[in-house]
């Protein structure tokens, strides 16, 4: 046990206006808690998080020489940082603080004032008991290598690289093929404004390869990255088969997605029927300027089928987000190229969301395109090669969902709007940079809403389609967001790293190494000389799993130590019995 100064605790119970005070008798809580050992002051106030509320704590810290503070208010997920700052400003270490959640997990969820008050008293008693064992923790930071590694040379990767390089910082751009451009290099026009994809790409590629701060490595994949934020290192096998070691401080992953393999949908006949082609192949065809069947004829009847491989549990449950708009773009381009053709658009749901896209749908629908709906979940259309002489070469049978009618459509050419899916090597990439993939094999962001380009591995960002299917504007926006994040850390020169990490007591560690395999961040290694486990506190995220794995108790999870949690249990249970 560590030597401890005598705890002098200030306890503050918040009314949160009526939010807490209505269901919890804050006066009674304050009174009962004030009688507990080590509690020097016990007060309540209308809004503890307000400036006067914070002032109250700051003044008491000075006046009563407090060395621990407990606030009973809302969830610590909301105001823990607020109150920690109050301690910091008052000269106390911010970790000598504990919060009791008597709003979200008490006053708001109960309708019996007596029971809610009693629960509040117990929760606060637990916090008081715990805070006595809190220890001051120091902020730590690591220096940042100003170079950045970007993996993937598509639009997202190039956008990120250019943004970082334009700020005067070095970028290593890894591209696994022999040219930049990614999937967009297959596209003819972009939606919804039908701009030329090539022109956009050409400028971007030229800027990238001519940029003094960008070094592009072609035919290069990533194998393993060592290190941590600010200090990553990898060895790459470049073009000329030479090994090169790169060091960098941040990583932006922009590895994209690939088109769904349409031959998996048997009834569409892709691979068997020559004039059933994918949307990607049709883009290539459009780029030639001439739309012709495999036999070289002008197609009279052209059908576009949506959601191929998407929104179907047999293939991929998710929506690929761009195919509907691309289909509308195709219909427009076809109408211009072949004014007399019949164009059928078979959709499951028309999802023309996004700026300018609904307008594209409206405009397209006025161009004599025949839109029909089918049931993607239960009855996919069936494509057959017709045998009767004089018949069109292919027939599509399907049940039109709105009318319920079974229909038969003639077709000379059928375009399958294939969705997007992960590259087969996605796991290797995830493993190399230490990030996770979701059940759809997209990389997982740190927070889906509040931190969508970061990952749970500090210094590793995900942009573009590898994070989930999306169009060009969203990919570019993510790329630039990640670049801004990277530049911010570079400009800081250093970043704060997790404080509440694990720590090995080397006097107790026996070197059994059980902890090493449980660490998801490879933050623990075995020191052969000292015969003990060592935690790399920069890599550690403070989950505490090693702490509850360690058979000797040599590993402490800072701020969540055994002693702190056991005391919390003790405090709240003893109070529970007292009230009874």
């Amino acid at each position: 046990m560590r030597s401890m100064e005598e705890a002098r605790i200030g306890v503050y119970v918040c009314w949160c206006g009526n939010n807490i005070a209505k269901m919890v008798d804050v006066e009674l809580v304050t009174e009962l808690i004030g009688k507990l050992p080590h509690v020097v002051v016990s007060k309540n106030y209308k809004y503890m998080c307000s400036d006067p509320g914070q002032e109250l704590i700051a003044e008491d810290i000075l006046e009563h020489n407090l060395n621990r503070v407990v606030v009973a208010a809302c969830s610590p997920r909301i105001h823990e940082l607020t109150f920690r700052k109050v301690l910091e400003k008052s000269g106390l270490n911010p970790y000598l603080f504990e919060m009791a959640n008597i709003r979200e997990q008490d006053s708001w969820v109960h309708d019996n004032r007596e029971a809610a008050t009693r629960k509040a008293v117990e929760l606060v008693a637990g916090a008081i008991s715990r805070v006595q064992y809190h220890e001051p923790l120091d902020k730590r930071s690591v220096g940042i290598n100003p170079a950045t590694l970007v993996i993937g040379g598509g639009v997202a990767g190039m956008s990120a690289a250019l943004e970082v390089a334009n700020a005067g910082r070095e970028v290593y751009l890894l591209e696994k093929t022999e040219q930049l451009g990614g999937m967009v290099s297959h596209f003819d026009l972009t939606f919804p404004y039908l701009y030329d994809a090539d022109k956009m790409l050409e400028v971007m590629i030229r800027r990238t390869i001519n940029h003094p701060h960008i070094k592009v490595f072609y035919n290069t994949t990533i194998s393993e990255v060592h290190g941590y934020i600010g200090n990553f290192e990898t060895t790459i096998q470049s073009d000329s088969n030479q090994e090169q070691t790169l060091t960098f401080g941040n990583i932006i992953v922009a590895t994209g997605l690939r088109p769904f393999d349409a031959s998996r949908v048997g009834q569409y006949g892709y691979g068997r029927l020559p004039n059933v082609i994918t949307s990607v192949e049709f883009e290539d065809l459009l780029r030639t300027g001439q739309v012709r069947t495999k036999e070289g004829n002008i197609p009279q009847n052209i059908a576009i089928i949506h959601c191929v491989g998407s929104r179907n549990t047999e293939f991929h449950e998710y929506c690929s987000r761009t195919c509907c708009q691309v289909a509308l773009k195709f219909a427009n381009q076809l109408r211009s190229l072949l004014p007399d053709s019949n164009i059928y658009d078979l959709y499951a749901d028309m999802r023309a969301f996004g700026k300018g896209c609904e307008e594209l749908y409206t405009a397209t629908s006025k161009k004599e395109i025949i839109f029909m709906m089918f049931d993607q979940q239960h009855e996919l259309p069936q494509i057959i090669k017709s045998v009767a002489p004089g018949d069109p070469p292919m027939l599509i049978f399907f049940r039109e969902k709105i009318s319920g009618l079974g229909l038969e459509i003639p077709a000379d050419m059928i375009i399958l709007m294939v969705g997007m899916e992960a590259h087969p090597d996605v796991k290797d990439i995830a493993h190399a940079v230490g990030i996770s993939i979701c059940s759809n094999a997209f990389f997982i962001e740190k927070h889906p809403k509040l931190d969508p380009v970061a990952t749970t591995t500090s210094g590793v960002y995900i942009v573009g389609n590898c994070q989930g299917p999306k169009g060009i504007p969203d990919s570019v926006a993510q790329a630039k967001a990640a670049a801004a994040r990277v530049l911010a850390t570079i400009n800081q020169g250093s970043v704060h790293v997790e404080v509440t990490t694990a720590e090995v007591n080397e006097t107790l560690c026996c070197g059994c190494q059980t902890c090493i395999m449980v660490c998801p961040y490879t933050a623990i290694h075995y020191d052969r000389e000292k015969k003990v486990s060592v935690v790399n506190e920069v890599l550690c995220k403070g989950c505490g799993t090693c702490g509850s794995t360690c058979p000797t108790g040599a590993i402490r999870s800072k701020h969540f130590t055994d002693q702190q949690i056991l005391s919390q249990i003790d405090g709240l249970m003893k109070m529970a019995l007292k009230i009874e």
Binding site: T507, L508, C510, G511, Q513, S548, T549, C550, G553
Partner: protein, 327 residues
């Protein structure tokens, strides 16, 4: 009384057994010829297994008369408790000697059952018992000559510190005689003693630190084995062979004797100072080693651990957080 100036007064040493097998007392004798050195430095004032000194003689001693008492054995009955309290009163330093005094030990496994069940088994059901009149031990029995008394058999077994304050713990089943000599020498030479409440005669680190078997981080187990189920290669960490070895959570100090003898550690030296419960840390570590994330598979692996409570608390049930089965 004549004052000795040239020589330090001899230490007064007591050894007592509570609920014990006798092994601890034998371990004191196991210092062999070094016993002569002990006797040169100390007078044995009380040692029921070896000397004919009565309880009343101890009761007659002034308080703190004994310098060091080595108390071995758990507290099982009123006699054990009475003597524990008496020796506490009469001793300057009270040492819980051996696993039973330290943590409850093997007799502590009786906390899996009750006094009633034990009596029923022993005095009624056991194959060698002939007791048609169902005569059970009684604490008082009047005969013509007066009243006969027997100690009260308690429902629970307790470790020594659950009855009296203990100054030091010298762990082991039994403690290694070398460790006893080291501690004794420390006391006899007047060297500074560790803070009260410390474990002495054992390492701060646990067994793996001294274990010579090869160990890696690869502790992933598809099923657990009893030692008899596998052909131990004699080289690889027991855990990595799927055999539960208490080594990682058991203090070193015994010279990894069981493991050297190709048997996994069973935990008699007790947990490290950082453990609040003697078995929880090891139970947690062992569960973590289960090599599956599938609930059904995990359950199957758990099934291969026959007796978790008896395995992780073999020597320490009474000193564990949930001290006994709840009945």
């Amino acid at each position: 009384m004549k004052e000795e100036t040239s020589q330090k007064p001899k230490l007064k040493l007591a050894v007592y057994w509570g609920a014990a097998c006798g092994g601890c007392c034998v371990s004191v004798l196991d210092v062999h010829e070094k016993l002569l050195d002990v006797i040169a430095a100390a007078d044995l004032v009380f040692w029921p297994i070896a000397l004919d000194i009565k309880y009343k003689d101890v009761e007659a001693m002034p308080d703190k008369y004994i310098d060091v008492t080595l108390f071995n054995g758990a507290v099982r009955n009123s006699e054990n408790e009475h003597i524990a309290k008496l020796l506490r009163q009469k001793s300057k330093v009270l040492v819980a000697y051996g696993s039973c005094a330290h943590m409850g030990g093997i007799p502590g496994l009786a906390n899996f059952t009750t006094k009633e069940a034990i009596f029923k088994r022993v005095y009624e059901e056991s194959e060698s018992t002939v007791n048609p009149d169902k005569i059970f031990p009684q604490t008082h029995f009047d005969v013509d000559e007066g009243t006969l008394e027997l100690p009260t058999f308690y429902n629970d077994v307790r470790s020594l510190n659950q009855v009296v304050d203990v100054d030091y713990y010298l762990p082991g089943c039994p403690p290694q005689s070398e460790r006893l000599l080291e501690v004794f020498t420390l006391i006899a030479t007047g060297a500074p003693l560790p803070p009260a409440g410390s474990v002495v005669g054992a390492s701060e680190k646990t067994q793996c630190d001294e274990c010579k078997r090869t160990k890696t981080e690869n502790k992933k187990v598809k099923r657990f084995y009893r030692p008899i189920d596998i052909k131990d290669d004699g080289v690889t960490c027991f855990l990595e062979q799927g055999v539960i070895c208490m080594g990682p959570s058991t203090r070193a100090g015994c010279g990894v004797r069981c493991i050297v003898g190709n048997a996994p550690c069973r935990g008699c030296y007790g947990p490290s100072e950082a453990a609040s419960d003697p078995g929880a840390k090891m139970l947690s570590a062992i569960a973590t080693m289960i090599d599956s994330n599938n609930e059904k598979e995990i359950e199957k692996v758990v099934e291969t651990i026959d007796d978790p409570a008896g395995t992780f608390y073999r020597f320490s049930l009474p000193s564990s957080i949930i001290r006994r089965t709840i009945v």
